[in-house]
Symmetry: C2
Subunit: 515 residues, 2 copies
């Protein structure tokens, strides 16, 4: 067989059976090999930001890596922003980046670039395949790197001659290490902190935010009087009725400082010490009070559910301790003029059991938790790295991973434009995604930020950089252009009707919510 | 003033007065400063690939740099593919990449990345601003780097605290070096080669492909019997009636080898020795015959028109030597079924005087020169780095640079999707661009490449990665979604009617040519 076949076989042997792809000439032997492996599901994205963002959504929900297929440095470049988000989400992913044949690189043909330099900032692991015989071992190592707790971005550079050359190398198996275990000293330190009477916050992220571990954390809190919070952004949370309701650290600096005020001890379980998303003159970078002790009980690479169990045992948070779980609310539907909050309220009221709610609503979604505590139980996936343009791909990939679950995307209009091509993939694959566009026709978050700079009312230059009007984007036409059915709502009654209808059917649908 | 004001003032003082932008929070002080400088024209792109591609089109036509405004590493990442093309086109450009405040980077906030690592592969020059006092000097150095012959990508990293901090530093002036002069030894070597009776090819690129220098080159060819060709891809060529017709080195390896067959001596004037765009098993990387002597008369950084004059003098190619110029053909309009060639034939027949024709037609445009030798005189801008998704932005930027010229874009459908957001900028700025989409609903080039791999007929996986059908993209809806008027043609008569109408009006228009 050739190296490309070896690569496909190795991916499949290691349970990587979905490939989000946008191939080019240098990857044609790999495409031919994929064509010989019907077990591999190939999903085309019409732009690489869709490819990597979809692999992120898939990896978060499937809890195993998808492969991506990217065309040389520029193809990787196009995918970097969503790789950045995926890296921050600790999503497992294996990127296959095609490269010129090794002997051809010296000629600096037009598409030649320094792929490693581009890959490293957004990858946890990078390796260039040396030969056809090296393919299988390298691919297995990539899968192992991607599957190393908490999950990471493995980028494999595949020279064309390694793909087309022959090899008899056996198919390698990935051997990811087991997740880390917490240290006894850290456990004792955390236990001591939870007994010393000082104001303590337990900050959670990663797999600590699944339903079971959250209940353990809630028992610890109930037993010790500590507070629980989630990190500001997290790859995946299990929320809604029947789950422990937990707030996230707020995004705005002032609100975050206020929320963390008085904290004397911070215990980190898969989370990091909260820092400001951006720096502002005269505002702090670190959001916890000065002098607050920080105890890292478990790092993201550790077995977080196990860490919580150990801590629960240590503080005597026994299983009989009752914890408050969110209750299913009565559907409380909004009426009147359509606002961002009304949109979220309706989603909270109508989203079905076991939905996957993806959130790139940016400023429109600041209140989103308020309206969804008592929604039907759901997974909540958010933008983790601040690189906008994740929403449509993320929902696309989540829907590929979870064909039997409804995916609902809360999507800001400005961010939606970044990877709008993903709608086509939803149509192509007939994915069960309802996209709600918050059409405020501006980068609303930046209007706020401009005010904070003290620049006063925006003039012509600022307005033209921060507003998306003149012309307004027609999202119904946009969706239809990509083969996705769509409709527009300008008041609550129309929105609720559309959302009900969209949720009752199967397949992609887009609602432009004019707010 | 603050550093952001200092930056604006320095750019304006150095004749950089257009800024293609997609700002974020970390650039808000710069946005506020731009708002205080109405002389700076700020053009919003709804994705950074639009921003950098538009700056490329602008730089190629304006012959001076535009600024870009990009938001941290991910914003730069989104712009990299078109920066890659611009670098290969030797386009002058100054990127301003916002960065966290310098003291904030240590906290690894979500948007923190290694910007330098991302910037270097696609930049000729990279510098991180150290302080508010450093802003003006760094910005002037960036402009100088961008304007150093033949033009280059200068990337300036602007930490937020350098933007908001106060400075009294004076506004710096850029001092780009003069273009290089050819060496006497190279001139003598070229002269000798042109006299020794061996088969000689003069290969041109860069500013050697403007009307005047081309005539000088044609006189040299007429005097010496040498052949003239242009490099395969070039940032800008002056073509059409009244200009010297010149072929490019073909893209397919076999055709290129055939075109270069028998060449015993190659004289490079701003061009590089032709190499294959991609490597293929059993085909050569270097396209000239073995043993062919290569003489570099002038490198891209040299004064190419001057080099040609010196060579003309050296070989006695006096101004009285007549050179063949293309004549204005009778409009020969296509009829019947619409094909890619028919589309180009119609464009060749109908394009007005002094149009700017941008070409990202990929496989559909392989015959494009054949139909446009005798078109009205025009500038021809092509994709230079092979990173698809340049067409719509390139045309956008060219139209900003040349408001009085009609811009015609020949655009493949698959590539168009990459930066489709650029249509909105055309609508926002009411740019005079006619976009013709070659809607063959497939990555046609890759179908050919798959055949060359010997993979036979594509199966399900390959088809689903190489075809853009199921669903077909509706380009009329797509354009209308972005505020651009559009219509569809499926036969020659309808296409010719639409093209005539689109060329007769002002403002953006898109034609979906179903081929």
């Amino acid at each position: 067989m050739n190296g490309a076949d070896s690569l496909c076989d190795t991916l499949l042997a290691n349970d990587v059976d979905v490939c989000f792809a946008n191939p080019g000439t240098s990857e044609m032997h790999f495409v031919a090999a994929l064509d010989r492996k019907p077990r591999m599901r190939c999903v085309l994205g019409l732009f690489e930001g869709v490819v990597t963002g979809a692999a992120d959504g898939y990896g978060r929900m499937a809890e195993k890596p998808a492969a991506t297929l990217l065309h040389l440095g520029p193809g990787l470049g196009n995918g970097l922003a969503n790789l950045h988000n995926a890296r921050r989400a600790h999503t497992p992913m294996v990127n296959i980046v095609g490269e010129h044949a090794s002997y051809h690189i010296q000629y600096d043909a037009p598409l030649t670039t320094d792929i490693e330099s581009l890959a490293r900032p957004m990858s946890n692991w990078v390796r260039r395949i040396q030969s056809s015989d090296d393919v299988s071992g390298a691919a297995a190592a990539a899968v192992a790197a991607a599957r190393t707790e908490p999950g990471g971005i493995a980028t494999l550079i595949l020279p064309a001659d390694a793909a087309w050359g022959q090899t008899a190398a056996p198919v390698s198996q990935a051997h990811p290490p087991a997740p880390g275990r917490i240290e006894e000293a850290a456990l004792l330190q955390a236990r001591e902190a939870l007994r010393n009477g000082r104001k303590t916050l337990i900050l959670l992220s990663g797999k600590a935010l699944r339903a079971g571990p959250l209940e353990t954390a809630a028992r610890i809190a109930a037993r010790t009087g500590a507070r629980l919070m989630a990190q500001q952004s997290n790859g995946r949370m299990e929320r809604g009725a029947g789950r422990v309701p937990i707030e996230r650290v707020p995004y705005p600096v002032d609100a975050a400082v206020k929320a963390l005020e008085g904290t004397e001890q911070l215990i980190l379980i898969g989370a990091r010490t909260p820092v400001a998303f951006f720096a502002y003159p005269g505002k702090p970078s670190v959001l916890i009070p000065e002098g607050c002790d920080v105890i890292t009980l478990a790092s993201p690479a550790d077995d977080l559910p196990q860490a919580l169990e150990q801590l629960a045992d240590a503080v005597g948070a026994t299983r009989d301790i009752a914890v408050p779980l969110a209750e299913r609310g009565q559907p409380d539907l909004p009426a009147g003029a359509l606002t961002a909050s009304a949109v979220i309220q309706a989603i909270g009221a109508l989203s079905p059991e076991n939905a996957v709610i993806c959130d790139e609503s940016v400023s429109s979604g600041r209140d989103s938790f308020k309206w969804t505590w008592n929604a039907a139980p759901h997974d909540f996936l958010q933008i983790t790295g601040g690189a906008i343009g994740i929403g449509i791909p993320l929902a696309t990939g989540a829907a590929v991973a979870c064909p039997d679950r409804k995916v609902i995307l809360m999507q800001a209009d400005g961010s939606a434009m970044y990877t709008v091509q993903g709608l086509w993939t939803q149509a192509r694959e007939q994915l069960d995604v309802v996209t709600v566009i918050f059409a405020n026709r501006r980068y609303a978050i930046l209007h706020n930020e401009l005010k904070m700079v003290g620049a006063g009312e925006p003039g012509r230059n600022a307005s033209r950089m921060l507003n998306l009007d003149e012309p307004a984007i027609d999202w119904v036409h946009m969706a239809q252009a990509a083969g996705v059915e769509a409709a527009r709502a300008s008041d609550c009654a129309a929105f609720v009707d559309l959302l009900r209808a969209a949720l009752a059917r199967k397949g992609p649908f887009l609602i432009e919510a004019v707010i």
